[in-house]
């Protein structure tokens, strides 16, 4: 993995995360990853400026909010431009533990094209309604896209060079995570799942723009249309 360390990029789509982004970036750096790209998805606060203050971080900004999926896609395109061979996407609100990146990279090294972080394989601390909603999301993803996974909505994922090249998505918002599942199935990519830790803090649970019932229904409709 040392050979690849210069080619591993951590992608962080972020929207209004000025409060925590610096801490998230430092935690990732302490975990040993230096190639970090933050995509500020049209935030109203100074998320991008805060990210730019961290040494070595590439901070890009969408001048309009386009959604988590669009931001992740921009980040992956940026990583490709910078010569990435492995890409890891991680949420910008500090819910994910960067310590889990190492085992995802090991699974990529073992020959997997995509590693999906799964909260449901380690649901400690996960609110019950989220567990239920996740199961429902998994069922819908399977019904529409034909592949069963234990956490179709997790944004904590690792992709090999082959996966980065072959995955083509069109959706921009929360439905992006499910569309990636479709692309895994369509391109017959080798994938695996691994349990990840999720930290449900007061901050992350209080965010206005997060997955809830209304956004979940909108996501479902968009998934059905994008098929």
């Amino acid at each position: 993995m040392e050979k690849l360390s210069k080619k591993i990029f951590i992608i962080i789509p972020a929207f209004n995360e000025a409060t925590v982004i610096s801490a998230v970036l430092r935690e990732i750096k302490v975990a040993g990853y230096q190639n970090i790209i933050v995509i500020d998805d049209g935030s109203d606060d100074d998320t991008c400026a805060k990210a730019q203050q961290e040494v070595g971080v590439v901070a890009l900004k969408h001048f309009l909010n386009r959604g988590k999926g669009a931001a992740a896609k921009t980040g992956i395109e940026a990583a490709k431009m910078l010569g990435a061979e492995v890409v890891v996407t991680i949420d910008g609100d500090g819910q994910h533990n960067p310590a889990d990146i190492a085992k995802m990279l090991e699974l990529i090294r073992q020959g997997n094209d995509v590693v999906l972080g799964s909260r449901l394989q380690n649901p400690q601390g996960m609110p019950l309604w989220k567990i239920v909603a996740n199961h429902f999301g998994n069922f819908c993803t399977w019904a529409i896209y034909g592949l069963w996974v234990t956490d179709s909505q997790s944004g904590f994922r690792a992709y090999s060079k082959k996966a980065i090249k072959s995955i083509e998505t069109k959706t921009d918002r929360y439905e992006y995570d499910s569309e990636v599942i479709r692309e895994i199935h369509r391109n017959k990519l080798k994938f695996t799942e691994t349990p990840i830790e999720v930290r449900y803090t007061k901050y992350s649970m209080s965010k206005v723009h997060k997955m809830n019932l209304k956004n979940g229904l909108k996501t479902l409709i968009k998934m059905a249309i994008s098929g």
């Binding site: 969408h62 001048f63 386009r66 669009a70 921009t74 395109e77 431009m81 249309i225």
Partner: protein, 104 residues
């Protein structure tokens, strides 16, 4: 129904005569066809029977309702496609601008 149709029609004409950008000639024609049609069939409901017989369908009003639904769904489908394409184009423009920051 007739009063409603008249109000919408008058509104469409006023917008067009004022030269408002949102009211194009095509929209005016479409508004005339739709609201005049609704007004006419509201005043002369039996006319639906004649038209329906001419077209070879069975019950008159149901025929028009059916045709109306088909048209509405076709238009909706077209609008959804246009919206999706527009959204994708906007995202592409935003992405290109963001990625150009790397080159700088």
């Amino acid at each position: 129904m007739v009063l409603g149709a008249a109000i919408f029609l008058l509104n469409a004409w006023l917008k067009f005569l004022k030269g408002e950008r949102s009211q194009t000639f095509f929209k005016l024609i479409a508004s005339n066809l739709i609201w005049l049609g609704i007004g006419f069939f509201s005043l002369f409901p039996n006319a639906t029977h004649s038209v329906s017989q001419y077209l070879g369908f069975g019950e008159s009003l149901n025929t028009f309702i059916f045709i109306g639904f088909v048209l509405v769904f076709a238009i909706l489908f077209k609008i959804v496609n246009i919206l999706e394409r527009t959204e994708r184009n906007i995202s592409e423009i935003v992405r290109k601008e963001a990625l150009s920051q790397i080159i700088k």
